[in-house]
Symmetry: C2
Subunit: 258 residues, 2 copies
């Protein structure tokens, strides 16, 4: 057993420190580790509990984003030397700015200013999911189009939750794909359309998991649908993202760029 | 004009470097800045384009998470000295491990291993949204309960997208709240129930935005519903999260802990 237990200690959600820990540890490809996030460690008592848990674990590695110097001191007193995001990054930034960091000074706790926008965007994505309420497509920031099970809904929801974008999604059904061109309700908003596509083998596997041995899940049907959709995308020179080997984060970041 | 333009340069989505930049800059509360993320800067040409854009901007601050040493060198040759997440954090980790970081070595590009689980979780959250398909509640990791517009759906979707948890949500309607106890379908899964609540004033404002001057949006009605829901939560000692001043990330992190 040569694995490490990697603790991510945060006085907040731990999302940032967890994300840094994962990125940095990916640069040590031979390392085996399990990740344990300790969020909301925001009092002396909770830091002591965290420290006890860490000290009780063989081979711990500790990443921390605690902002309060007093809380950080408690870890130090317990003999724990974390990789501290702020210690490691903030001094370089302060030097460049000619200012000293104010730990916990401007911490953005509480509701983000764009919270409302993001919640509205989630409702929008749900109301315009899967071709619902096409008369509202004009209100969308982006409209994702593609065949069934290509990843439209999760992508629309991620863009809403992460970036507050109002994203509709519209499925191209076999009926749509037999027509000469995209449905009229989509052609009215060409500049906001984004195509999603996928390798046919992958789409078939995804559909297969839901409807085994159906025509819908056959490789032939998937190829036909994807080919017809791509013909429409090309005709209108739509930006297209191939989601085959991408995470939802990557798909979303590429769509924001396009 | 004393604001800075903060560039986050990444060869991937930029989510990690953006999140570090925001956290660190929050420690300089007097600083005004606008954030520009440059994702997928993954070729020499793209780095040169990014460098040109940065050099063309007054008062730039640059955070980077480029992993390829050759790409990083191009920034340096252009006279740009970024705050580099890996440069600043990886050496400390390497020293502790007695190993040297392999830049870009173990980069976890492409589909995350848990991609399928997260997509399944999103579909689950949609299928069990707002009390749908209660016969499947037994398959949920968590079941969020609360009155209308308390934040159940976005929270369930966030837990699915971020953590791959299968989260159902069930609305307590005025009819439910007039009964003696929680609906029977919920009582069958008490250990998985989590209550969401909210300040009555805040709930009234949220409902007011959708149905102005309705009884549904009145402060009195909101108080009555929240009070009745909390009585149920207390009777069964359910973990409860008050979402009044929380972001969806915070709510999700607290629910994971509870």
């Amino acid at each position: 057993m040569n694995g490490y237990s990697v603790f991510c200690v945060s006085d907040h959600t731990g999302v940032t420190v967890e994300s840094v820990a994962k990125s940095v540890l990916a640069q040590f490809p031979h390392l085996e580790f399990s990740l344990i996030t300790l969020p909301f460690v925001d009092s002396a008592e909770k830091v002591r509990e965290a420290a006890a848990r860490i000290l009780d674990t063989p081979r711990p590695l500790v990443f921390s984003s605690l902002t309060d110097p007093q809380l950080r001191a408690i870890l130090g007193e317990a003999g724990i030397q974390p990789f501290d995001i702020f210690d490691l990054v903030a001094p370089a930034v302060g030097a460049a700015l000619g200012q000293t960091a104010t730990p916990s000074g401007g911490r953005t706790h509480g509701m983000a200013p764009d919270y409302e926008a993001r919640m509205d965007a989630v409702n929008f994505a749900l109301n315009l999911d899967d071709g619902l309420n096409p008369e509202r497509l004009g209100q969308a920031d982006l409209i994702l189009v593609g065949v069934s099970r290509v990843g439209k809904t999760p992508t629309a929801l991620y863009l809403a939750l992460q970036y507050g974008l109002r994203v509709a999604n519209y499925p191209l059904t076999p009926d749509d794909l037999e027509q000469d061109d995209l449905p009229a309700c989509l052609q009215a908003h060409l500049s906001r359309l984004r195509g999603l596509t996928l390798a046919a083998e992958r789409l078939a596997a995804i559909r297969q998991a839901r409807y085994p041995d159906s025509r819908y899940a056959s490789l032939e049907q998937c190829r036909m649908e994807l080919g017809a959709a791509e013909t429409f995308f090309k005709r209108h020179a739509l930006p297209v993202v191939d989601t085959t080997r991408m995470s939802v984060e990557e798909i979303a970041a590429r769509l924001r760029q396009s």
